[in-house]
Amino acid sequence: MSAVPGTSLESHLRGRLEDKPLLLMTHLVVGYPSLEANWTMLEAMDAAGVDLVELQLPFSEPIADGPAFVKANHDAIEAGMGWEVYFDFAARAAARFSFPIVFMGYYNSVFQMGAQRYCARLAEAGMKGFILPDLPLEEASQLTALAREHDLSPVFIMSPTNSQERLNEIGRQASGFVYCTARRGVTGRKTDLSQGVAEFMQRCRTATPVPLGLGFGIRTAADVRNVRGLADIAIVGTAGLDAWQELGEEGYRLFMKGLVAETC
């Protein structure tokens, strides 16, 4: 039973969790290094059997991101990335691939678009939810209500710095899944999963019945294996982009396969 009555994203995730112990969510910054490269990445994710994908809309002030994604955001903007291109890309991806797609980006994009229009565009594109790392719970109520009308899941974030009281508050509003950050700081840097993460995930588990994703610093297949038993979804972000840049297209395919192999 979920805190906020059933969104299709949550039931989809629960369905898959009946077949395997852990799901994998991967990420890309739309427009970086190019839309063509992004499409090839999605094909690789699909072929590997990734369960869920976040598509990041670039923003000029990405305060929750580390150096690799900061550069990706800025370069994509420089290359002319905008709403039309983003939603066109997302719609094509949602039509072509079977994994659900969620929006990831910063709140100013939503604010400028208007909450109503934002939700409508996500739904039209066939997306299932959104992650807005700079939008606190208390500012999200209007957007959350509109999201529900469009069967979109607002995905909230839980942080190890949160008090149990705060985790419970977030847990009560949670839908789809919760994005638990394995450590403090921003995206990119590696995380030592033996350092208090199990205890943190336990605190998150008591705060909400919705599936829990664990991200920030999950970089290798071995990391994904270690997420088993800690969370329902392993989230790999920066390491995917690094793999693309360091290993090339074929290496990226193998990297994705290697990650997925640890979830079965």
């Binding site: 923003f59 000029s60 002030e61 990405p62 305060i63 929750a64 580390g66 150096p67 900061v70 550069k71 800025h74 903007i77 905008g82 709403w83 910063y106 709140y107 100013n108 994009s109 604010f111 400028q112 678009m113 790392p133 700079d134 606190p136 909230f156 974030i157 839980m158 942080s159 710095t161 949160n162 008090s163 705060r166 977030i170 950050t181 403090r184 700081g185 921003v186």
Partner: protein
């Protein structure tokens, strides 16, 4: 604001609320500023400027005489007292002109704290004297190379540091922007300017000013001096933003005066930003690094909307002119940021009568701008000096 900072901001709010409720806190702050920073700073009557423009009598509030040469020290020493209350051992800060960075490094040295300053790479270039002093004071200065390499990028970098280091680190935000409680907290400490100035105008000029001028970057010196006069409806408050190369060129930082700003949410707060229709922040420009910023304090945006504060702008060229006039007429050297307030006031002084008085907030002194000003004035002697110095080092 990222969730990871939720408890940290709550901790800061609590420390600030406790301090504010403590009747001895404000007095201890004023005493600290008196014996460490040289406050109160004077209000100076400028007879030569007054005669030159032939209108209102011109007074200047001298934040340039505050320790470290700008109003920034007020906020920094106040936050230093909060750091002591919270028991943290390290401070970080962003800086544009370097004044806030120098003030923070000073405070850290005095209170025995570790200190890291984030500064846009472009500002590291143009405000190098302050980089030198920050390092001499024991601070680590990090040049921020992403984005537009100016103040906004330095704020992002400081926020990212804080998202990791908050357990033992306080972020000394330098202006009235960013997440709650910073706008309120920074305004609280900067109101010392307005309280002093109001009393001093009554003493020195025998009357409240008809108009008060302040330059507006993030808006801390303006918020500080304006707050002293908010309850005096006859006192007109004028904020002067950076028109850079001219509003029409798009190369400026005039969020309110330019009419090109739009409400948005970024860097943890909601205000009027210079951004495009899709919410991407624009590249700003000003000869003054401290005004070269996308956003403006939410309280000032609100006072603008209410019509309580009028917003004007001054171009780089007008500012350099105003600086030259002020130096030659009064022997006062305003910072390029502050010179925006002078330029705004000079434009209007002659339209007022000699019964009127105007008060200009000189937020800081211009020593730090020596390279930029020398270039703007085409000073041959200075260029020769630098050339010789460089040759000396090359040998």
């Amino acid at each position: 604001m990222p969730e990871v900072l939720h408890e940290t901001l709550a901790e800061l709010r609590d420390a600030f609320d406790d301090a504010r409720r403590d009747p001895s806190f404000w007095n201890s702050y004023v005493a600290l500023m008196a014996n460490y920073a040289g406050r109160p700073t004077p209000v100076t009557y400028c007879d030569n400027l007054t005669r030159r423009f032939g209108g209102a009598r011109i007074y200047v509030k001298r934040e340039d005489l505050n320790h470290t040469g700008a109003h920034k020290a007020n906020n920094v020493m106040g936050q230093g007292l909060l750091v002591q209350r919270m028991g943290k051992r390290r401070v970080i800060a962003e800086t544009g002109a370097g004044q806030h960075g120098v003030a923070t490094a000073t405070m850290a040295a005095r209170l025995g704290l570790e200190c890291t300053i984030y500064m846009g790479a472009e500002d590291v270039e143009r405000q190098h004297p302050n980089v030198f002093w920050m390092r001499q004071l024991g601070a680590e200065v990090v040049a921020v190379t992403d984005g537009t390499r100016t103040l906004k990028d330095a704020i992002n970098a400081a926020l990212r540091d804080w998202a990791d280091s908050m357990a033992d680190t306080h972020y000394v935000l330098g202006t009235v922007c960013g997440p709650h409680p910073f706008p309120e907290l920074v305004t609280y400490f900067q109101t010392i300017i307005g309280y002093e100035a109001r009393r001093q105008m009554l003493e020195v000029a025998g009357t409240l000013p008809s108009r008060v001028y302040a330059c507006v970057g993030g808006g801390s010196n303006a918020s500080g001096i304006f707050t002293g006069f908010l309850d005096d409806p006859a006192v007109e408050l004028v904020g002067v933003e950076a028109a850079g190369k001219g509003i029409a060129t798009g190369q400026h930082a005039a969020r309110l005066a330019g009419g090109q700003g739009r409400t948005g949410v970024a860097q943890g707060y909601k205000t009027v930003f210079l951004q495009n229709e899709e919410g991407l922040m624009r590249d700003t420009h000003s000869v003054a690094a401290g005004l070269d910023y996308i956003g403006v304090g939410p309280m000032l945006a609100h006072l603008h909307q209410q019509g309580r504060v009028r917003f004007e702008s001054a171009t780089d060229a007008e500012v350099v002119d105003a600086l030259r006039v002020t130096m030659r007429s009064e022997g006062i050297i305003p910072a390029l940021e502050s010179a925006h307030a002078f330029a705004g006031a000079f434009r209007e002084a002659s339209g007022l009568s000699s019964d009127d008085t105007i008060l200009i907030n000189q937020s800081g002194r211009g020593d730090k701008d020596i390279f930029t000003v020398a270039d703007a004035l085409g000073d041959e002697g200075w260029v020769d000096f630098i050339r010789h110095k460089a040759e000396g080092y090359a040998r």
